[in-house]
């Protein structure tokens, strides 16, 4: 517990990561059999290479902020979201989170093709951490927003991929979470539905939710975020105002191209 209000985590902190590392152990050599494994294990000759997917990450995200996480492919952006959504427990460091976290990374997680749209609303909703009662309240709204109409009572295998995505989006965004994790800006379906998606995302952004947006697209980060963090090779290159970060990112990309 923090006694000092000026030091994070405090009242206005949404996410606080302190020295967070995710280290995978990758075997150095190919091990052909259990026998070989056992012998090497006993003789303590198993060699591993340590791979730092995230290395000593230090960051504080404030409540209500739209915070960008930018970096090249393999920089550790998605791993960072996994740590914050608690899918991955860090090897080292402290994760402190205030609020409900909704990862909008994969729409329709756990959808079952044999269940009806309605049954899938309840299944997907509870998987996202909502209670039956909460889903009861939002059910009609979800169906209306998804525009699947009478298909809501048909098994999901009869849905077009567009309907599937629309239903997934409608469930995932029916509630405004405290902290929203986004891997690229979300919009699904045809042009008309995309506009609806964007409107819904705007609503969530203005409802007091904290948003963490991951992207390798500098323009998206620039146009949506207040502050950002630049990651490279699992390490924080810089954190701060969006202008500085985009400049740093451009430098990094230039350096990468020449060197």
């Amino acid at each position: 517990m923090s006694k000092d209000q000026s030091l994070p985590p405090n009242q206005s902190t949404a996410v606080f990561l302190d020295g967070v590392s995710v280290i995978y152990r990758v075997p150095m050599e190919k091990i052909a059999s259990i026998k070989e494994f056992a012998i090497k294990k006993v003789m303590n000759k198993l060699k591993y290479r340590q791979f730092h997917a995230l290395n000593n990450i230090q960051v504080t995200v404030n409540k209500g902020e739209i915070f960008g996480i930018i970096g090249r492919n393999g920089a550790g952006k998605s791993t960072l979201l996994k740590v914050i959504s608690r899918v991955l427990y860090p090897t080292n460091g402290r994760v402190w989170i205030n609020g409900t976290v909704a990862p909008l990374l994969e729409l329709g997680a756990g959808f079952h093709p044999e269940l009806t749209g309605m049954e899938n609303i309840y299944l997907n909703g509870t998987l996202l951490g909502h209670s039956r009662k909460e889903i009861d309240q939002k059910r009609d709204e979800i169906i209306a927003f998804s525009e699947v109409g009478d298909f809501i009572h048909a098994p999901l295998r009869t849905y077009s991929s567009g309907m599937n995505a629309r239903l997934g989006f409608s469930i995932a965004t029916a509630w405004s979470p405290d902290i929203l994790l986004l891997d690229e800006v979300l919009s699904v379906g045809d042009t008309a539905f995309r506009e609806k998606c964007q409107k819904r995302m705007q609503e969530i952004m203005h409802s007091g939710s904290t948003i963490l947006l991951v992207s390798h697209d500098i323009d998206i980060i620039k146009s949506t975020c207040d502050r950002a963090m630049l990651l490279d090779h699992g390490q924080v290159v810089s954190v701060g105002a969006i202008e500085n970060i985009t400049a740093d990112y451009k430098n990094l990309l230039d350096k990468g191209e020449t060197g």
Partner: protein
């Protein structure tokens, strides 16, 4: 600026320990289990004509086959089918729950990589589904008890307790197995073999007296399922209330296995993401 108030705080540095944390998470997501059980029941039989009746027909079919094959070997007069079915229903619950738990841990991992869900919810719901299937299987079981003239005894009132003890053991064992399979995937291939061996080492298709003197009786005594299935058989088939000692042994086995399973699984939980 007006600071919004968010309710829950998660702090990895200030945790009540993985075992307690997991219990809290399961309780917070308690509606999830009901949905998962519903999904398993509905989707399992969705495309079949007889649907959920298969939960009743399957054990019945196995009983008929085993009775035809073995009834000449073990002289139990006309009650042999009822004897087998009683044991088999209990055994089937255990073997299916544990095997499905293994599959959930291995193949459910796709979901675990995307969203945070307490993993034990999935194993709990697997055992829950097993209990429901067992309940369905009671219909043909009671029918066979009546037909073979065993009749249904008043001791049947102890059945829920017997099932609960067996379920606690199945849950604990599933958790231990699931932990093991994450680090050693070969367990998944080996377990069906172990199950076959286990079934033949437990008095299910043959009477207990047949092996009661093997290794001075230790073959029976060291087999946890022997004690648990016996309780089930005593109250369903024999019409005998288990002795205090028999209850005690069964409860101790179940509680120890469940506690061990819960602690081992939840404390390894953090490392699961690195393996599967």
């Amino acid at each position: 600026m007006n600071i919004p108030q968010y309710k829950e705080i998660y702090d990895s540095a200030n945790s009540p320990g993985p075992a307690v944390e997991e219990i809290k998470a399961v309780l917070r997501n308690k509606d999830l289990m009901a949905q998962l059980i519903k999904r398993d029941l509905v989707t399992r039989y969705k495309r079949s004509v007889l649907g959920v009746f298969w939960s009743m027909l399957n054990p019945l079919g196995t009983m008929i086959i085993l009775s035809l094959v073995f009834s000449r070997m073990f002289d139990m007069r006309g009650v042999y089918p009822a004897y087998i079915l009683t044991n088999y229903v209990a055994w089937n619950f255990f073997s299916q729950s544990t095997q499905f738990s293994l599959n959930t841990t291995l193949w459910g991992s796709d979901l675990f990589h995307k969203i945070y869900i307490p993993r034990t919810s999935f194993i709990l719901s697997t055992v829950g589904t097993g209990m429901l299937n067992l309940t369905f299987a009671l219909v043909p079981l009671f029918l066979i008890l009546l037909i073979t003239g065993v009749s249904i005894h008043l001791t049947i009132l102890f059945l829920p307790l017997a099932v609960l003890i067996l379920a606690a053991f199945a849950l604990g064992f599933s958790l231990l197995l699931s932990t093991l399979v994450v680090f050693f995937p070969d367990v998944n291939e080996f377990y069906p073999v172990l199950l076959t061996a286990w079934m033949y080492l437990t008095p299910i298709i043959y009477p207990e007296t047949m092996i009661s003197d093997v290794l001075n009786g230790w073959l029976l005594r060291l087999n946890p399922l022997y004690h648990l299935i016996k309780i089930f058989r005593l109250v369903v088939f024999e019409g005998v209330v288990p002795s205090g000692m028999e209850w005690l042994v069964a409860v101790i086995i179940a509680v120890i296995t469940l506690t061990a399973g819960w602690v081992v699984f939840t404390s390894s939980n953090k490392r699961f993401g690195y393996y599967v």
